[in-house]
Symmetry: C2
Subunit: 215 residues, 2 copies
Amino acid sequence: MSSSVQPKRVRKNPEARRAEIVATAARIALAEGLECITMRRVAEELDVRPGLISHYFPVAEELVAEAFGTAAGGELADLLPDADAALPAVRRLARFLERTEGPRYDELSRLWLNARHLSRFRPALRERVDRQEALWRDALTALLRDGVEAGEFRAPDPHVTAIQLLVVLDGLGAHANTERTGRPAAVTGMAHALAERELGLPAGTLGTPHRPHHR
Amino acid sequence: MSSSVQPKRVRKNPEARRAEIVATAARIALAEGLECITMRRVAEELDVRPGLISHYFPVAEELVAEAFGTAAGGELADLLPDADAALPAVRRLARFLERTEGPRYDELSRLWLNARHLSRFRPALRERVDRQEALWRDALTALLRDGVEAGEFRAPDPHVTAIQLLVVLDGLGAHANTERTGRPAAVTGMAHALAERELGLPAGTLGTPHRPHHR
DNA sequence: CACGCTATTGGATGTGCGACCAATAGACAA
DNA sequence: TTGTCTATTGGTCGCACATCCAATAGCGTG
């Protein structure tokens, strides 16, 4: 039984180790929350001594900020993949909206909620939140512009519509830690409704929102 | 100079002391955040030894939950005063919306954000958040029902409209810790627009939303 | 194979926290 | 005034954390 303890130290090159650390921290952030990103916790996850994390990130807050950026950035890339650029905007938007429901997106809602709150006390994180917010806004704006150019729908001001959509998603996601059973469909579908209304699309074009947990 | 130290102990009756503690904690929650509610911090504020807070609230989380309930409840009473019950619903709603802007409400937005996130880890707080949420929803629903009964506007389902309104307010408030200068009026006014649209009121009936920070 | 660079360790230090408890001293009744 | 009840004190304890640093040992180079 020598598997539990392994005084064998593995030596990696700095970039790889650093990337590994950030990836681990990002995973913790999504699954358990940003305040669970601790030197000890990350070190344990990587089977390494805490001092090592401290070596790569002398100030803990910096790791938290980096982890959030990685997690949120990765999720955006997942929600609006560049690979889909050739698809019709309506279809991409429908997919996006579809994914903003269900337990998968709950994790992300929780992360945003977490980051938005914690950024009150952590300037470095706050800066990252602002940056990610801009990225999400711009990605959605670009999608809408594509649709307008392709004549799929009209939008007087895609930038504004994008923000409005994100505001509604934030509002819906704000309750990710709360009881939400029995939410009326007219609430669950607010994002769909807003998009269809603002873009002048017939109701249902973007797909129907999932029914909330029935009964 | 004996003003700095005062080994004089003041003895109050339990209910008064307890109320005093909760009020102090609620103030801290609004101004600095729920995580700043600590035995030591509250004690210092009241010029009392930490052990005393511990005596009234053997478990710290309980005080945090209580403080949130008091703060949120108080703000609701402020936003939708019972004293206004005689006024037309349209007017009460306009006032409510007007107050959901400006730095005053920012403090409250931050509190809700704070509580929604923290409730992920603290069951007692979570329970309070749920309760306050129900109170806010019901108060707003009652207001809408009043308006319908009085024939001021129509609303097929006041309950749903109330939730939708709160979702939008949550979405707008989610950025209370973030940069928000330069927000377009079409975003700032989302709550007004939603209410007027859902209630079939002419645009502008509920007052115009504040312009965001100019320039 | 031996050497030097540096990634990694192991430990120490200090802080702030909740929780716990015996001793103390106000306030009120007798 | 005296006595009793209990609100309040003044500590202690253990825990988790970030931060810092000298010593160590992997690994590539020569």
